[in-house]
Symmetry: C2
Subunit: 480 residues, 2 copies
């Protein structure tokens, strides 16, 4: 595909995002399937790295991977009243199979709590069977009206964890353990700072007692819900009859949790670090960490440069771009757009000087490094880049977080914000966890992102809408 | 789940298979979704090991992973006449989404050649864009009438590779390269010997020019098609307008391949090695290679045994079964059914003797090993088991392969064979690659499994049905 210019962030953030995703070989819209995308090689490779980071942590915490069917009998969704209300408008329904009209249609899973509930009821009889800690990597489908690649697509890839416990206390500990894993991967792998919090009752998962989330701030100041962990209480246990005999010999319903992150994270990654030259990837999620571009003009330089290039690249695990018929400039441009953290340049002059040029993607800074020191310097530059990207994102989050003490103030701070124009912020205000309060914010398209778990601000105060006392300020923002 | 007896292979092979799968914690039927299963933790862990082995080889051969949409516009399937004829009867169709009847229904992918063809036509313009070598790990759906866990389920997990090339020669080299990767994984990882061959015209993939497969023999003598690699010719290129400008500046259609293996391989693994005591896994595909069961009767022995157990297990990467309230016998039984290759036993007497008992799953042989030699001995036993399982399966394949020189002979060898009773074989006969010939075999439910790539038998001969000369004997068998 030909490479075209990238829209500047400042002129149209949404167009910039689309350009970065396309030119970064991350994905492209699949216009022939409503709201879907094709995940391209660079995008899928980032997803594989993210999967590995997450999966290792889930397994270390005792979870096992399994796989449940894609199709769910339609009646299953109706067993939990809030759940069906939340998901019914977004379902894709299979009504014909094997050439025949089905007696009971199937829905394509929008999430799997219902089918998991069915199987938990078969697997769990006694406290000895608990906890059950399973996870699946799967595709799900939600028929969304407005879609954007990675951020909201009708089909997306995710992991969904499902656990069952003997007590509410244990389930809650699991919910928070997973929230910590999500925050750890977001901050220490994606270099994307997040706020951990509780969703308000009107923003919680359909069927949960309470939902927890991590919320990140994109470069345009909009919030992105980057992962959720749900305390399902006994809601699905009761809907699907998941009962167990407890240690006292009495029958009780299990306490369940569910939690997920999806390919949406890749959208968050793009909008956290990329720039007007295209994709910027933190080194820990870069499928290719370094590429070496050999430079030669005359045929007699070629052999010498290529020999040294391959030798040095092999020593540091870099890829050599040996493509013929492309200028070095075209190669630099190519790797820049794909977010490769470090590009190395090696030409006859560098060879004579015993050095090699190293260019860092985020800062654009070039330096000549003695060849003997390349390995150590490359490792140091990658580590510095990982840390700097996090620091920059953290500084942006902090400088765009402001306090507000009235609804008017919140509206004046957020009312004009759009995904395209940017200017978003996290507005911290005292607000009651009541659907009436959420509804007022919706008038200017803002939402409560979460009630933070930790109070980094000024403690209790009076709700800006009802005047009732609330424990702490909540995060209000415009969001994806 | 309570553990029940396993049916003997000799009395009912099909019931035995189902018991091994259930008791081995590999999968269970999802009776509420027609023909589907839940892949349980042990089964999914085997799949993850298989994925790793395959994926590493695909990537080493230059393939990149991508992800295409689950849903395909129904009209796409009609663009390739043979393809739609082959798959139409098995489709699941989405007719409602987002609460509305769809103008054009979508089918859930039974395989992705059509949607891949659509995108290849967007991605490929010039010979410089070729080859395109992509693969996806995905779920697919085929509405089958008779299903068996892993072997044939309406939904299954697989990988599907799709490539486009400038010449037929290159495409054919790719088809065979992949067939070799499949055979390598089957033989050297799964310990399952296979025959590489070409499918007859009536058994080829719907839409392919020619299909290649690897065929394995199960313990009941039935054949299992374990992987296929298709030479698609220019069929999909023409159907989807995938044209490129070749080096001579002329427009041409690309030459495509597609290839896949699925969770069916796990069924093949079970039916290759397992026994009347349950699952037997080759060490390379065992999620847990060794478990140590500590043995103590008196409370004062407990600490000493457990301390040594954890120390020794950690040194060799074994898991320690510390579950309380279970006898050592119950633990041995538990791990045996799950196919753990080696179980270690350690009690006070072993401690006093400075030894540890090692039991190998496939032979049941126990030996006392000096503790200092455990690591080396365990590695040697695992390697021997991997090699022995392959040798045994190879010997079975060879001793159950017979020649036949007439249709009557073929029928008398295969006519009475069933999956339940066993007694199957590979019957080698000269047969023309002609749908009329395949049809005659179907009268007694046998099929041509493949025309082997290499001739290990007696060369050319006359077709047992038409009398026409054919190059070599084909493999005829009853199959899953």
């Amino acid at each position: 595909m030909a490479e075209s210019p990238i829209t500047a962030r400042g002129s149209d953030f949404a167009a910039w995002y689309q350009d970065v995703v396309l030119q970064g070989d991350l994905a492209e819209p699949a216009e022939i399937v409503k709201g879907c995308m094709v995940i391209k090689p660079n995008g899928y490779a980032v997803w594989e790295l993210l999967q590995r980071e997450l999966d290792d942590r889930f397994k270390a915490a005792g979870h096992q991977n399994v796989y449940f069917p894609l199709l769910i009998p339609q009646s299953f969704l109706h067993k939990e009243a809030e759940h069906v209300e939340g998901f019914a408008p977004e379902l894709a329904v299979v009504t014909i199979a094997g050439g025949k009209q089905l007696e009971e249609p199937y829905v394509i899973r929008p999430t799997s709590e219902t089918i998991v509930g069915h199987f938990f009821s078969k697997w769990i009889q006694s406290w000895r069977d608990l906890p059950v800690l399973v996870n699946q990597w799967a595709n799900v489908l939600r028929w969304e009206l407005r879609t954007r690649m990675f951020l909201r697509t009708t089909e997306f890839l995710w992991q969904e964890g499902h656990t069952a416990h003997a007590t509410h206390e244990e389930a809650l500990a699991e919910v928070l353990r997973i929230l910590d894993i999500y925050a750890d991967v977001a901050e220490n792998v994606m270099a994307m700072p997040v706020i951990r919090g509780i969703k308000t009752q009107s923003e919680k998962f359909a069927g949960a007692l309470r939902s927890y989330s991590i919320e990140a701030m994109m470069q345009n100041g909009l919030a992105l819900q980057a992962g959720t962990s749900h305390d399902l209480g006994q809601n699905f246990g009761k809907a699907f009859g998941v009962q167990f005999q407890n240690q006292q010999g009495r029958l009780d319903y299990v306490w369940q949790t569910s939690w997920g992150v999806s390919t949406r994270l890749i959208g968050g990654l793009v909008m956290s670090h990329s720039d007007d030259n295209g994709l910027v990837l933190p080194p820990k999620l870069a499928p290719t960490r370094a590429v070496l571009v050999p430079i030669y003009r005359k045929e007699e330089e070629r052999g010498r440069v290529l020999e040294a290039a391959h030798r040095m690249a092999a020593a540091v695990g870099a890829k050599v771009d040996t493509r013929e018929g492309l200028t070095p400039g075209a190669k630099f441009f190519h790797w820049e757009r794909r977010g490769v953290p470090v590009v190395l340049e090696l030409g006859p002059r560098d060879l004579n000087a015993g050095s090699i040029v190293l260019k860092r993607r985020d800062t654009g800074v070039k330096e000549a490094v003695p060849q003997a020191e390349l390995s150590a310097r490359l490792a140091a530059v990658l580590a510095a880049m990982q840390a700097d990207l996090y620091r920059a994102a953290r500084a942006r989050l902090e400088s765009n977080t402001v306090l507000a003490n009235s609804l008017e103030e919140v509206e004046s701070l957020l009312g004009e914000v759009t995904a395209e124009k940017g200017g978003g912020r996290f507005v911290m205000a005292h607000l009651k966890n009541d659907p009436m309060c959420d509804a007022r914010l919706k008038e200017f398209k803002a939402t409560v992102r979460c009630i933070p778990l930790a109070d980094a601000w000024d403690g209790p105060g009076k709700c800006i809408l009802t005047g009732e006392p609330v424990e702490r300020r909540v995060v209000i923002a415009k969001a994806y």
